[in-house]
């Protein structure tokens, strides 16, 4: 925040009123001494159009000495306060500080630059006509002036042309920057839009079709990634549900019972509920929509399937979780 110091204030007042600085200085020094005296003698000084300086009493209060723990009394004292006039207070409240150039946003700065360019061009256009008229009118005068004036006019012209080209270049570069910005903005916008649409279309396509598209994608990928082919095969298997032939139990869904509880009960791992759900998927289209009284068959899982420390299996379970909780 900028500061208006004493001397600057004095100069500003002198300039505002058109008085000499000496007179202003004498006045302002007297003003300060009178305010001080007023505070001292009458405890308050009211200045219309600004506010009131006042001496406010702070009464003595009890406290405790932090080092000894003894109760002490802090003596009362006066403090100087300033209360602005109501109108002034509101004026300040609604005022907006003049912003510094650093605080401008890039767009504001561009706008300002554009304004400046326009001003420069206009000035050039305005000055161009009088300059020519000058050189023409002076031809009828003395020969010395004749020889001097055209050279000046020539110089002015080249200078003018230079200014014009410079301003033109600045304008063009600003426009190019703006266009490039718009282009990139639109491109990312459109890409997002297309992605959204594709996503919607993908949801519409039946699972088997999706399977095919996925397979296609993966085929292209496997060419590069022979080493992790095994893993990829497993990923392919995800949407073809595993066939469960052996069941270790049949559970009737009770109150408060959830797939995750059953998974913990039978396999010790809550995440493995996906397998239970998968085995009963033909009856329940939605894993969140299983009611009390429904019967669930608990499939027998191989040790591999139960082992979540195996990264391949972990990945499979994660993908199933993602698939079923969509």
């Amino acid at each position: 925040m900028t500061k208006l110091n004493w001397i600057e204030l004095r100069k500003a007042v002198a300039a505002h009123l058109g008085t000499s600085e000496r007179e202003t200085a004498a006045f302002m020094n007297a003003l300060i001494t009178q305010i001080q005296l007023g505070l001292k003698n009458e405890r308050q000084v009211r200045i219309t159009g600004l506010g009131t300086f006042r001496l406010q009493e702070v009464s003595p209060r009890k406290s405790v000495d932090v080092t000894t723990g003894q109760a002490i009394v802090l003596p009362g004292y006066n403090k100087v306060v300033f209360v602005p006039e109501i109108g002034i207070k509101e004026l300040i409240q609604t005022s907006t500080p003049t912003t510094n150039e650093e605080e401008d946003t890039p767009l504001q700065r561009l706008g300002k630059q554009a304004d400046e360019i326009v001003a420069i061009i206009q000035r050039d256009i305005n000055t161009a006509v009088p300059a020519e008229a000058d050189s023409q009118s002076s031809t009828g005068e003395s020969s010395e002036a004749d020889s001097a004036e055209p050279v000046q006019a020539e110089e002015k012209k080249t200078e003018k042309a230079y200014h014009f080209v410079r301003d033109l270049l600045i304008t063009i570069s600003v426009i190019i920057v703006l266009l490039v910005g718009c282009y990139f903005g639109l491109r990312t916008g459109i890409r997002h839009w297309i992605d959204d649409k594709l996503h919607q279309v993908e949801q519409v396509i039946t699972p088997t079709e999706r399977q095919e598209t996925r397979n296609e994608k993966q085929e292209t990928r496997t060419e590069e990634q022979d080493t992790i082919a095994l893993e990829v095969n497993q990923v392919e298997d995800i949407l073809t549900p595993r066939v469960y032939t052996e069941f270790i139990a049949t559970e009737t869904v009770g109150k408060g019972s959830r797939l995750a509880y059953l998974a913990r009960k039978y396999y010790g791992q809550t995440d493995l509920w996906v397998f239970i759900y998968e085995a009963n998927r033909d009856q329940f289209p939605n894993p969140n929509d299983i009611k009390t009284g429904d019967k669930l068959r608990i499939p027998k899982l191989s040790t591999e399937q139960q082992d979540l420390s195996n990264p391949a299996n972990r990945q499979l379970v994660d993908q199933l979780l993602e698939e079923y909780t969509k």
Partner: protein, 96 residues
């Protein structure tokens, strides 16, 4: 002390006319307020500093209804006396 007394006193001290003093006082307050509105801090020598402080918006509880309300951000005029003035006036006891 009211503005009228202040003008009288200053005129007495500087041997200026009261009218001139009043003009000068008006001009001074005008310049001070204008500078403050521009966001400048105004230094008054041997007296203190006037400045505009930004107060952030905050939640207040209305004592009447116990309602929580957001008090808007505002700009407030504040005065900070110089250390010497503060100390000079600390122990004065002259109640009317």
């Amino acid at each position: 002390m009211l503005t009228k007394d202040l003008i009288n006193n200053i005129a007495g001290q500087t041997q200026m006319t009261k009218k001139r003093t009043e003009e000068l006082l008006d001009a001074t307050t005008h310049v001070i307020i204008k500078s403050l509105m521009e966001g400048k801090t105004v230094q008054l020598q041997n007296l203190g500093v006037l400045e505009v402080k930004e107060r952030k918006e905050r939640t207040i509880i209305l004592p009447k209804s116990g309602e929580r309300v957001t008090a808007p951000a505002k700009r407030q005029l504040s005065f900070r006396p110089t250390v010497s003035l503060k100390n000079d006036l600390k122990q004065i006891d002259n109640h009317d």
